[in-house]
Symmetry: D2
Subunit: 284 residues, 4 copies
């Protein structure tokens, strides 16, 4: 795998943006591997992702910041620079349903997810065997109704200790407090087992069954303080029929959840996602 840098940019759309950025990278001998941009014409917004090979690039990360600063200022850019050599640290939260956890652990082990997973946190101990099978530290932190704050304090302490970059809620059945969420803005990914905004909240498969929909879905999204309302990263659906009882919806939906969550995690880790207006742009 190549050692690359990924630059993510968002700023007001103006003439000369691409020329300026491309010229800057060319001047420093960047060999561009991928570049993609998006313009939201209604909001007058410019978004860009550009990835280049670090071999031959003649700037250190520190120098990059210094030399790129005038461009940043001129175009009022929000920007971030990531290196593919840095493997982000991901914590997985899980309750009893273990299909998403098993899927993420397998993908991580198989090299599909370029991250470290130093921590699994669960309010139950049911999934410890999976953590053990894949050699990932497992923390059982029960969440009692009247001691939720204490549980979250313990969680946050562990997350800080492990320098966690991203939290993945792999069917974690507890609602996180606004305080907790504010610690990790746009860095908590949840999987919801419906095609949002349909059936947000509790028991979506049961409600899908009752409503008689012909397709069921799953949605991965960033967690914000409003339940099931954060920016959607990925969605998918599968066809069902009257022959499918609720247990079938749950079983078929679990296959969707796995794929939809794992894609979101991978895209986040690969720095493919830009956020604006409570939406995501996913550069593929």
């Amino acid at each position: 795998m190549k050692n690359t840098a990924i630059l993510l940019i968002s700023c007001p759309d103006q003439k000369g943006l691409v020329a300026t950025i491309a010229e800057f990278l060319f001047r420093h001998d960047a060999n561009i591997l991928h570049a993609d941009q998006h313009q939201d014409s209604e909001l007058g917004l410019f978004l860009m992702r550009v990835e280049w090979d670090l071999q031959g690039f003649n700037l250190s990360t520190n120098d990059f910041e210094t030399l790129f600063a005038p461009i940043v200022e001129k175009f009022s850019m929000h920007w971030s620079l990531a290196l593919s050599s840095y493997r982000p640290k991901v914590a997985i939260f899980v309750s009893r349903y273990d299909h998403c956890l098993a899927d993420l652990l397998y993908r991580h082990q198989a090299g599909e997810l370029n991250c470290e997973i130093p921590l699994i946190i669960s309010n139950h101990s049911d999934t410890k065997w999976l953590a053990d099978a894949y050699g990932i530290p497992f923390q059982h932190i029960p969440v009692h109704k009247d001691a939720k704050q204490e549980a979250e304090d313990m969680q946050v302490a562990l997350l800080h200790h492990h320098h966690i970059d991203l939290i993945v809620l792999a069917r974690y059945m507890q609602v996180l407090s606004p305080d907790f969420i504010r610690h990790y803005p746009s860095r908590i990914i949840n999987i919801h087992h419906s095609f949002l905004p349909a059936f947000n909240g509790a028991k979506p498969y049961h409600r899908a069954f009752e409503r008689g929909v012909k397709l069921i879905g799953a949605t991965s999204h960033y967690v914000t303080e409003i339940l099931d309302d954060g920016p959607i990263i990925e969605q998918d659906v599968t066809r069902i029929s009257h022959r499918d009882a609720i247990e079938n919806l749950i079983q078929r939906g679990s296959d969707l959840e796995k794929v939809v969550l794992s894609r979101a995690v991978r895209w986040h880790i690969e720095n493919r996602i830009l956020l604006y207006a409570n939406k995501t742009v996913v550069f593929d």
Copy 2:
């Protein structure tokens, strides 16, 4: 095309149902072409569709009713018998968007829809050219805010005059009154341009765009007195991305709407749909 009879049955589930019905048909020399059944174990409900070749069948429709009556009574059946030789009479309601109308007229002309279309009603005259091209009578009935009742009276008079069996709302942008709907229970099919129950009501593509969903959908359903809440017949979705502006959603969605509406109309015409608990069973 074969001359067939289609029997639709729903009743409380009991032992002996299939044996009784199959034996009855066998005794009268029915050559069964298709048979499908469904049991809802929670509600204890039995639903069946059976289609047989009328060639060789030794009962007239009238005799059928008489001789089948004891079975109906014994099992407390709801039932209906349809003949494939009868082409139901369909009225299409349309406003300005004409893609669903054009699609239905083409399919009808091509022999995909085994029905008659004696009537198109529109609150605008824009689509008259299409009706003319396919040789279907077109009635322009403007709907003024303060004279909606009068418009509906005219519509109902026309529908009665033409002995209409099914009304198809092919992007008809007026809300029908409860009175109107009660005239045609489970006999009005609407196309809604979202994946219901998400984005029910007005401007679903705009709201889908704002919410940042990754798939858009369309839903065909029977019209009930509660807006966009009737039994769902068919749904489908298509993938979109941040590159799709609202106009693209509308254009891509229109392809979904055409297919999703035409399937619902065909299934209704072919007597494939059974209703219960505000849901549909579609026997394919």
Copy 3:
């Protein structure tokens, strides 16, 4: 889970078939849970699957055979009777790619596959850790070019020893000999990583990439003596674009393979598949 019996039937289509079977089951107090049938009008073939609750059923399996025999003879039926209480014994063959194996083991452990897995056979030892994690016996049987027969002899001995009912080739990269296949007619399921009949044989992802297809697929099928030509059980596809390099095809395809193979295995185990004319009927 209910204790049920599943009857699979295929025979020449004749009047009175359904009536006769339904009457027989009714007479013996069967509470039918699911029944589905299919008629191939061109071949004049009748296929049926019927499942009933054994609670209340007044025949033993032995008596069933005796009493059902006259019906079998009259209609020239092929038939089989399976009990849901019997968990078929499945052997998984695997080489180095482990995604399908990991997926099947997880599903088995999670209760999605109602079978026993007493045996994993591999020509490599790479996947032993997975077998160990799930507590399944693992046999490493290397296959040398000049000693293939010996390897197959060892495999067959193990399969017989474990009374294996079904063999699943979970990306097993060796071609089985006709002799081997004849031991397990219609009881070996393979996953091929293309949308068959396109790209049968070796390196389908590379050939799909070269041909520039816009969708890639996976196919699960029964193994026959002609490579990649057996009856297809399930297929699925996913959209790709010019942005996807071969490694992406392989990664995205692996998600298809898992789902497409696991569905085939589940349907086989649940006695949902009937075979005719080198095709499958899958009763859902």
Copy 4:
């Protein structure tokens, strides 16, 4: 609709390409609306599509060519410049199946296809009524086995007379001669009613039925001298089951064909397609 220019480029990949092109456009005050690029790392190829608003752009088309020439030479570019104000002239070839023709004519009339259609050519007269309904000139040119050359000569004369840019084979059931094809390299789009490369050649639905596939497909592609082997532009599939007879496959497939062909035509017209290595890049 904005008045825009679209520049398509392909050349060997080199550093500085994007910077040079972006700087050139910026220098001449281009307001870039969309830009997308692709690199084939194996072939070392760079492909780009960039679209800008002509309002404010300070170069005429002629001046563009002159001033862009040094860049073209430096990077050994293949390039083309198209103006959205030019509506390409499209001829549709059709035989008896009229669903694709009806679909294209409707889309054209509805403004989905930004082209002119001055000519429909058919070897039958069945579809004349459709051409008349949409007011498009229709030429009936029968193709007799022993006078194919004469028919093609007449076709080519008509195509030249109308200055046709693109030929769309909308289920035209005649094989075009290599001579004919050479007149319109990469400018003839065909719809094939299978998921290529599966079932190329005749009667694909029948062969799909016989093989027992679980999905059927359609493929739009550029026509080359080898039958069904040209660069694929778009493909899609739909699920079928054992319940679908061949007529159903044909009917369900026709819905695929319409969508898959119309997308290809639109993308070609909107200058979104680049060709290399017998493949297409479709910039969306």
